[in-house]
Amino acid sequence: MRDISVRSLGFFWGLPRLMVIGMLIAYRKVVSPLYGPVCRFYPSCSAYALEAVTVHGAVRGIALGSRRLVRCNPWNDGGVDPVPAGSRSFPPGKTPWIVVLNHPVIPADDESRPAA
């Protein structure tokens, strides 16, 4: 009995996060392709926001995402800007896809020169 209430509480606690994730995924599938890649950062603003909400939850995730959007202006040089590590840990093999996508393994260069 207690277990069920704890679990349903957990579900409602996680609901805002799921809703924001759904909205972000819909945006990335429908709106984003309309105007192609425009972001000056890696990961792109929407990918950053999606990872931030997935890893940090709705409140901190939205705050992180908004901060990134403001930084994504023509007077910022852009570049690689990963989401700060969060407290949520995922069991091996269950890492969310967006986290995998945003942290690809960079293959070593063929020539022996320091990576750019």
Binding site: V38, R40, L69, N73, N76, D77, G78, P104
Partner: protein, 320 residues
């Protein structure tokens, strides 16, 4: 007022205030305040304000695109490294390395999200204002900075017999209005044509060979055919006033692009060649182009430094 209404409120106020100010100005110089044309010109004024404010962004973007030429060798090396690796994660890795490269060179060809996002609320706000004008007029309410009287005037304003707040889809059947239908169609065509011409101009005249072959171009070509569709769908749903805004913005983009192509073309593009020829005909030296490699001036400035006599050398020594 819902969530979006609350966010839009300040933008709605600003948009309506700018239009109101233009309307006052045009009335002051003797135009009929009740005429649809005065209101159309007020919308055009709004476009001019917004687009003029965005010019620095545009210039910044052009400079960044020109800065790209310096890192072409590095980019090619990167493309070589990822050649044949088409899976999603490899693409992501490549994008990440590319971004790091841009950052290192302090240039970035992307326009950034903010300028696009910033324009959205203005567009929605205008849509909101024009869409709400009929109801506000009937209720005797104000919209943003527009007084009750202005709202009523705006609601009754027509051009060619088409009310500014009417839509294509709302103009069929009983009480229909043929001029709204014709005017909407004309503006949809104008928007599509200007978009098409702008894109074609950029691709045909203002791109170097290298840029034309980038994967980026494929996306641009797809856009060329999707956007007319967007204009068509939007055009039949949006009020005439919004279409005026949209068409004017597109025309602005087209003229801006023409100017850039004529006065500061991309080095190595057909337009750059045309500019050099025009200047040669007038007997002018070729103009320095934005982002051009500075190799030639360096060579020219070299000889005067060599004041010392060059040591004569035996010819045999050179042929080693």
């Amino acid at each position: 007022m819902g969530f979006f209404g609350t966010i839009l409120a300040p933008f709605r106020w600003l948009v309506s205030w700018i239009m109101f100010m233009f309307h006052e100005g045009f009335t002051f110089i003797g135009m009929n305040p009740a005429s649809g044309w005065t209101w159309v010109l007020s919308i055009v004024g709004l476009v001019v304000i917004i687009r003029a404010a965005l010019i620095p962004v545009f210039v910044k973007q052009i400079k960044a695109q020109r800065g790209m030429q310096a890192l072409q060798p590095d980019l090619r090396k990167l493309q070589q490294k990822y050649k044949g690796k088409t899976d999603q994660l490899s693409r992501q890795a490549m994008t990440q390395e590319q971004m790091a490269l841009y950052k290192k060179h302090g240039t970035n060809p992307f326009a950034a999200c903010l300028p696009i996002i910033i324009q959205m609320p203005f567009f929605f706000a205008l849509f909101n204002v024009l869409n709400g004008i009929s109801r506000a007029s009937a209720e005797g309410a104000t919209i943003g900075a527009l007084s009750v009287e202005s709202v009523r005037q705006f609601d009754n304003a027509t051009i060619f017999g088409a009310p500014l707040s009417s839509t294509f889809l709302g103009s069929f059947g009983a009480g229909g209005n043929l001029s709204v239908i014709i005017l909407s169609l004309v503006m949809i065509l104008a928007m599509t044509a200007s978009q098409f011409i702008t894109q074609k101009q950029i691709m045909a005249r203002n791109m170097s060979e290298e840029a034309l072959q980038s994967p980026f171009m494929r996306q641009q070509k797809i856009m060329l055919y999707i956007l007319p569709l967007v204009f068509g769908i939007g055009g039949i749903n949006f009020p005439i006033g919004v279409l005026v805004y949209w068409t004017t913005t597109n025309l602005w983009t087209m003229v801006q692009q023409f100017y850039v192509i004529r006065k500061m073309p991309t080095p190595g593009s057909p337009a750059a060649k045309a500019l050099a020829e025009r200047r040669a005909k007038k007997g002018l030296p070729p103009a320095p182009l934005l982002g051009e490699r500075k190799a030639e001036p360096a060579v020219e400035s070299a000889p005067p430094v060599r004041a010392q006599r060059v040591q004569p050398q035996r010819k045999k020594r050179k042929k080693r």
